[in-house]
Symmetry: C2
Subunit: 354 residues, 2 copies
DNA sequence: CCATGAACTGTAAACGTTTACAGAAGCTTC
DNA sequence: GAAGCTTCTGTAAACGTTTACAGTTCATGG
């Protein structure tokens, strides 16, 4: 099929310098060689532009310097920021990142896990599609060193790197309540989620559902309500996807329920953007009538008018930490979970109730 | 360092089935074997869960199914959409994508090219940082099958996949002029660009500068002006980076020049977003006072209020086409450039001059 | 039943590297 | 100058596959 171009190998250097390949190997790996030997090898190297064959190294059990990253959608800022952090950290360690974007499909995810398991990876960072069903079995990762990012408790014994969703939900709800708002909506986001239900509390009980950010943020939201003595009303909860139109649909659904709403937590800026368009269209102003807080990190928050108040997730950091954890795992260390702190960043989408 | 877990090899199957490794290999590759041989191998396979070792395959000169992608910033929607298309097409061919995001730095780019050249790639899609200086030499790719995306004419003899920037700039300017706007600004974007110059026409002359989208869009813009008999005024051109704050700075710069402006071409939604905030802050409304057209494809256009009119670039498609070209190249075919068509998508950011 | 050939299987070399082991220098020390 | 040691170098096996080649089996025809 492909005629690979012949590259310089250790043998060529051996031939050029009149030494054995073993000596070349030793020299290249920093083992002691005589001064004149070193000089001959260096002379040969000078005009031969050798680079080691990664496959051969791997066959001898060496690390390839390639780590995998599986995520649901690379074009969503949430994930692309994590990817950016991961790539940055990988580069620092002279590693490369093998990426698969599964477009929110479990099937693609399974394909990716399979492809990765048979590739020459040193390890894998896995961000599962946020659908609490049908997770791939841990066995399918074939003992690849594994770290889960952005989710909690997906696989027992595997390190997870995630942000403090509970605190985020709590901070956000608490802040809105502090602004005098008591009718706070919640747009939860899952992949492949129906857009017309408010079944989140039941979802809390299904296996694995606790893995996803939405659930933890929702718990924090509930906690804040409880703390403030505000009754929880499922009619203010809408489950929707991650996109702009999902946000718009969710807003229509919420308004259609004819329940008072003066505050809203949305999982991403894009969902909030879709919601805001609908709110505006129906004469509800942001932040006056409805104050909105999103969970986001990206520049896109600024695109909204007004700028969105947000729970900062430090997503780039999450990518960095995930690769760090992975590398500690690869090095054979014990690695536990890493929970990243969150903080509130004020924008124009929240204001005191007048 | 790392104790790689021992996986099932062809030898294990041979042992389990009492055959030689050669027979196993032939069976796995679909070469003819006797029926009873096949049965024995299948029996062994049934409870052995074998997967081929990619490194060993590569050593035998087979393709690894890994293609590289180097791009300036994965968290920018422009590039993440291309990446998404590339990943999608790669998956279709049972390939994986090795990604490097260079954060707009030539140095990181050089590191990535180096890493990739020594990795087991079948080929590479390269989106250079849009700085017309200091491109890595073609030699540094070490005969890796190479496709350039998003740029034009970077390396002679290498296939390029890009969108029709000239047509985009032309369409956009023409449309604004059709709306009765004659004082049309242009925010060009380069990495590492100064934000206070209007040196684009000179830049047109420097080597390699023709590679970048901005230049071609600018040419289209000039062409439209000329066609309509509108004199070109460099005071309406600002060169800036790709970010939100870059757009804001560019807008401040433009307004500071005290030259009339009633239309604007911005290279990305995010730049336009930054610009719009400044315009609004200075009492200029969009689309009434200033109509804006951006070059974009992503959902972010919707986040802006009003929604941005855009030149659709079909970026996902670009990623797909880049990988397709690459695979044709890997298969040994002659591959030429691919120019993708663009089209105008109307939003609320453009309106007739009243 | 033997020769012939077709159809398959096994042996071994090869890909590019590392590394255990044995062998060859060189340096001390007497 | 020989013995003993240290220090380096070369040989060869190994990693998991593919594949040329030789060897085996089996059916076929005489």
């Amino acid at each position: 099929m492909k005629k690979r171009t012949l590259r310089v190998t250790i043998k060529d250097i051996a031939a050029a310098s009149g030494l054995s390949i073993a000596s070349i190997s030793r020299f290249l790996n920093g083992l002691p060689v005589r001064a004149d030997t070193a000089a001959r090898i260096e002379a040969a190297l000078a005009h031969l532009d050798y680079s080691p064959n990664a496959a051969a190294l791997y066959m001898k059990g060496r690390a390839t310097g390639i780590v995998g990253l599986i995520l649901p959608e690379i074009s969503h800022p949430f994930f692309s920021l994590i990817a950016e952090g991961a790539i940055e950290e990988a580069r620092k360690n002279d590693q490369l990142l093998l990426l698969s974007s599964t477009e929110g499909s479990r099937e693609n995810e399974r394909i990716a896990v399979d492809q990765f398991a048979r590739s020459m990876l040193d390890g894998l960072v896995y961000i599962p599609v946020s659908n609490p069903a049908d997770l791939p079995a841990l066995e399918s990762f074939k003992d690849l060193p594994l770290v889960v990012a952005g989710r909690v408790g997906v696989f027992p014994g595997v390190p997870h790197v995630y942000s403090d969703g509970d605190k985020g939900g709590y901070l956000a709800a608490k802040y809105l309540i502090g602004l005098g708002r008591r009718n706070i909506g919640f747009f939860g986001s899952f992949w492949e989620a129906p857009c017309t239900t408010s079944e989140l509390p039941e979802a809390l009980l299904t296996p694995n559902s606790g893995s996803y950010s939405t659930i933890h943020r929702f718990k924090g939201y509930l906690r804040a309500l409880r703390e403030e003595g505000i009754p929880y009303d499922p009619a203010r909860v809408v489950i929707c996807g991650y996109g702009y139109t999902n946000g718009a649909e969710a807003a229509r659904e919420l308004l259609g329920r004819a329940v008072p709403v003066d505050g809203l937590l949305a999982m991403t800026s894009i969902v909030a953007g879709g919601g805001m368009e609908v709110f505006r269209g129906q004469g509800r102003s942001v932040p006056e009538d409805i104050s909105i807080i999103v969970f986001d990190d990206s520049e896109i928050m600024n695109m909204a008018v007004p700028r969105l108040t947000s729970v900062q997730l430090h997503l780039r950091r999450m990518g960095v930490e995930a690769v760090r954890s992975l590398n500690r795992l690869i090095a054979g260390e014990e690695v536990g979970d890493t929970m990243l702190d969150v903080s509130l960043k004020l924008g124009g989408s929240t204001r005191s109730r007048t």
